[in-house]
C-alpha cells in the first residue's frame, strides 16, 4: 500500500525525526489560508502516488498567499502518470545548504533490511545508482538486533563531516528504522535530508510503502489508505477479494492465480491483442467472485471481449461455470465471452456452460486467439 508524503512525514515526526511543519489543502483557498498562517515563502506539493512529481510540474514555490492559491489551483486536478491530484501539501520553504538521500528497504537478495545513503540527494536514487553506484553506501541490518548505534554513526559519517551533523543524522537513521519496522513498511526514505545554512539536519520529504500483509495487525496504518487516490475499480475489486489492475487494452481477462493471469496477458500480446486488465480471482470457488469480476470488467468501456482462463486445481471448474451463468443473468452483458476451463470437474463445467448457451474450450492458446480475433473485429 502506498501512503502520501504528508502521511509519511507525520509518521516520521512521531518517531522523532525533525520534519518541518506542513498542512494539507484540497482547495486553492485552503492553500492560501495555510500560506498566510506561515507568513513566508511556501512550497506546494502534489500528494499523489507517483514518482517524478517535480518534473511533472506538481511541486511549486509561492512567495505570497495569493500566489499559493494560484499555484495550488494549477496543481489540484492535474494528472500525474494517470492519477488525478486531489490534495496538496503546503509547507514553509526551507533554505537548503546540502541535500542527501537516506532510505531503508527490505532487500530480496540478502533477505534483510538494507540501508542506502548518498550525498547525492534530491534526485531519483535509481538515477544515482545507474550513473555513479559508488556514490551510494549500503548497510545490511540484522533484523534481530536492528540498526545498531555504531552502524547508524558509520552511515552518518559517510554523509556529513561535522560531528554535530553526524550525531543528528545517526539519530534520524535509528528513528527512521524504528518507524520502518513499526509501520510494517517495505520502503522508507527521506529524499532529500537537508542541512540548512545554520547547520540543522531536517527531513523535507518522506516516502513510505507499506507491506499489504502487515495491515491486518496495524489498523492505524490501514486507515491511512486514500481510496480517492486509486482507481475506483481497484478499490472495489480489493473489497471483493479480487486482485485487479487496469491496463490500456480491450481484452478483459478473468484468471485464477497470479502467474497464470500474467501468462494469459502475455499470450494475448503474443497473438497481437492488448490486455485490458490483470485480474486474479484467487483460489476460491465462490461463484460470487466471478459475478463481481465480470461486473468490474464490463464497466471498463474499452473492453470488447471477455476471456476466462481457469485452471481447476482447488478451484472447481463447475463453480466458475455456475458463476458465469449467474453473472449473465444479473449483468447486462453485450460483449462476447470466450471461456477456457480445464482441470477439476472440467466435464461438468462444460455441460453447465453448453446448456446455458456458452461455448467453451480446454485449450489456452485456442481461446486467446479467438479473443484477439473478436476484439480486432469489434475495434
Amino acid at each position: 500500500m502506498n501512503i502520501h508524503e504528508y502521511q509519511a512525514r507525520e509518521i516520521l515526526r512521531r518517531y522523532g525525526v525533525p520534519v518541518p511543519p506542513g498542512e494539507v489543502a484540497v482547495t486553492p483557498e485552503e492553500a492560501e489560508a495555510i500560506a498566510a498562517r506561515y507568513g513566508r515563502r511556501v512550497v506546494i506539493k502534489a500528494q499523489v502516488h507517483a514518482g517524478g512529481r517535480g518534473k511533472a510540474g506538481g511541486v511549486k514555490l509561492a512567495e505570497t498567499p495569493a500566489e499559493a492559491r494560484e499555484k495550488a489551483g494549477a496543481i489540484l486536478g492535474m494528472e500525474i502518470k494517470g492519477l488525478t491530484v486531489n490534495k496538496v501539501l503546503v509547507a514553509p520553504a526551507e533554505d537548503i545548504a546540502s541535500e542527501c538521500y537516506v532510505g531503508v528497504i527490505v532487500d530480496r537478495a540478502s533477505k534483510r533490511p538494507v540501508f542506502m545513503v548518498s550525498r547525492e540527494g534530491g534526485v531519483d536514487i535509481e538515477e544515482v545508482a545507474a550513473r555513479s553506484p559508488e556514490a551510494i553506501r549500503r548497510l545490511t541490518v540484522d533484523p534481530r538486533y536492528g540498526l545498531l548505534p555504531h552502524q547508524a554513526y558509520w552511515l552518518a559519517a559517510t554523509l556529513y563531516d561535522q560531528p554535530a551533523q553526524q550525531r543528528a543524522c545517526a539519530a534520524i537513521l535509528r528513528n527512521l528504522y524504528r518507524a520502518f519496522v513499526e509501520s510494517g513498511a517495505s520502503l522508507a526514505e527521506i529524499n532529500p535530508l537537508i542541512t540548512t545554512p545554520d547547520g540543522e539536519v531536517k527531513a523535507i520529504d518522506a516516502k513510505m510503502n507499506i507491506d499489504d500483509n502487515e495491515l491486518f495487525r496495524r489498523p492505524e496504518i490501514a486507515e491511512l489508505r486514500d481510496t480517492t487516490a486509486e482507481p475506483p475499480a481497484e478499490t472495489e475489486a480489493r473489497e471483493a477479494g479480487l486482485t485487479y489492475i487496469k491496463l490500456d487494452g480491450n481484452i478483459g481477462a478473468v484468471v485464477n492465480g497470479a502467474g497464470l493471469a500474467m501468462a494469459t496477458m502475455d499470450l494475448i500480446k503474443f497473438y497481437g491483442g492488448e490486455p485490458a486488465n490483470f485480474l486474479d480471482i484467487g483460489g476460491s470457488s465462490n461463484p460470487d467472485k466471478v459475478v463481481n469480476a465480470l461486473r468490474i470488467i464490463t464497466r471498463d468501456p474499452n473492453v470488447k471481449v471477455i476471456l476466462f482462463n481457469i485452471f481447476g486445481g482447488i478451484t472447481r471448474c463447475d463453480d466458475v461455470a455456475n458463476g458465469i451463468v449467474e453473472a449473465s443473468r444479473r449483468i447486462d452483458m453485450r460483449i462476447p465471452i470466450v471461456i477456457r476451463l480445464t482441470g477439476t470437474n472440467e466435464q461438468l463445467a462444460l455441460e453447465i456452460l453448453q446448456s446455458a448457451g456458452f461455448g467453451a474450450s480446454t485449450s489456452m492458446d485456442e481461446v486467446v486467439q479467438q479473443a484477439v480475433e473478436l476484439a480486432g473485429r469489434a475495434a
Partner: protein, 293 residues
C-alpha cells in the same frame, strides 16, 4: 529418486483441523503420502479421520508430534498472523523440511524467520507456495495429484496455477516428472531456484529441468548464472509478466517491477545469454523439453 519429498517422508500437517488444512490433509492421504500427525493448539488428543480409514493423531505442539510419531517434514496451513511462529516451531522441533503454504505473511516476519530456520539446518519451502509433489511417491501441499505423472523432468516455479498449466501439458504429452516444486511468490522465500537446480542436478532420475519464473527480483538472473556454471542437465525456462506495468504488484507480493529492475525482458535475456532456452508460450515448454531430452 526425487528431490525433497519421497517414500521416506513422514508428514505433520500444522493447522490440520482448519478448513484448508483438513481438506488438503485428505487429498495428501488420498495421494498416498504418509501423514503421521496433525497439530492444532488446544486440540491435542483428537483424531483426524482421513480417507481410506486413515486415522491421524492430533497434537497440541510440534514437539509432541515429532516425539511421538518420528515425523520428518511439515506442511503449514495456519493463518498469516500465526504462520511465522508455526515455521519457527517446526524448526525448533527438529523438522528438516518445512513447507509453508500460507499466503500473506508479513515480509518483515520473514526477515527474522529465514536466519532462524537456516541456523537449525532446516529447509523452508515457501511461504505463499503450492508446495511440492514427487509423482507416485509423495505430495506435500496443494498441487493436484491428477495432473502429474512420474518421469524424468524436474519442475521448479514461483507460481501455482501457471505451474499446473505447464505440468499438465507435459503430462498430456506423455512426459513425466521427478518432482514439481512451487517455491512461492513472496519477496523472501526459504528455497530459491538455485537450491532446487542444485538438488535436481544431484538427482539421478532427473534428466532435464523446467524453470518457471516471473517478474520481480533477481532470483531468475542468479539461476541463469548458476545453470551456466554448475548444471550439466538441460534447462527450459518460461517467464510470466512480459506485459506487466512497472511499479504494480501483480497478485504475488514479489511480482513487481521496481524502477527498471526485475523485468521479464531482463530475465529472458539472462536465460538466453546463459544457454537456457526460453519458451514464449507455456505450451512451447513441451516442445523445447522434447528437443532437450
Amino acid at each position: 529418486m526425487a528431490i525433497f519429498a519421497d517414500e521416506s517422508t513422514r508428514l505433520v500437517v500444522q493447522g490440520i483441523t482448519g478448513r484448508d488444512g483438513s481438506f488438503h490433509a485428505r487429498q495428501m492421504i488420498e495421494y498416498g503420502t504418509a501423514v503421521v500427525a496433525g497439530v492444532t493448539p488446544g486440540k491435542g488428543g483428537q483424531t483426524f479421520e482421513g480417507p481410506n480409514g486413515v486415522r491421524v493423531p492430533v497434537f497440541d505442539t510440534m514437539d509432541r508430534a515429532v516425539a511421538e510419531t518420528g515425523a520428518n517434514a511439515s506442511v503449514i496451513y495456519v493463518p498469516p498472523a500465526f504462520a511465522a511462529d508455526a515455521i519457527l516451531e517446526a524448526a525448533d522441533a527438529g523438522i528438516k523440511l518445512i513447507v509453508a503454504i500460507t499466503e500473506g505473511i508479513p515480509v518483515l516476519d520473514m526477515t527474522r524467520v529465514y536466519p532462524f530456520v537456516a541456523e537449525r539446518g532446516a529447509r523452508l519451502i515457501g511461504p505463499n507456495c503450492p508446495g511440492l509433489i514427487s509423482p507416485g511417491r509423495a505430495k506435500i501441499g496443494i498441487i493436484p495429484g491428477q495432473i502429474v505423472t512420474r518421469g524424468p523432468i524436474g519442475v521448479v516455479s514461483r507460481s501455482g496455477t501457471l505451474t499446473y498449466e505447464v505440468v499438465h501439458q507435459l503430462t498430456r504429452a506423455g512426459i513425466g516428472q521427478t518432482t514439481c516444486v512451487g517455491i512461492g511468490g513472496d519477496p523472501i522465500i526459504g528455497t530459491s531456484f538455485i537450491d532446487c537446480l542444485a538438488a535436481f542436478e544431484e538427482d539421478g532420475e532427473t534428466e532435464a529441468v523446467v524453470l518457471i519464473g516471473e517478474i520481480g527480483g533477481t532470483d531468475e538472473q542468479n539461476a541463469a548464472a548458476f545453470i551456466r556454471e554448475r548444471l550439466s542437465k538441460p534447462v527450459v525456462g518460461f517467464i510470466a509478466g512480459q506485459t506487466a506495468p512497472p511499479g504494480r504488484r501483480m497478485g504475488h507480493a514479489g511480482a513487481i517491477i521496481s524502477g527498471s529492475s526485475g523485468t521479464a525482458a531482463e530475465k529472458i535475456r539472462a536465460f538466453e545469454e546463459n544457454g537456457v532456452r526460453v519458451a514464449r508460450r507455456p505450451i512451447e515448454v513441451v516442445d523445447l523439453i522434447r528437443e532437450a531430452l
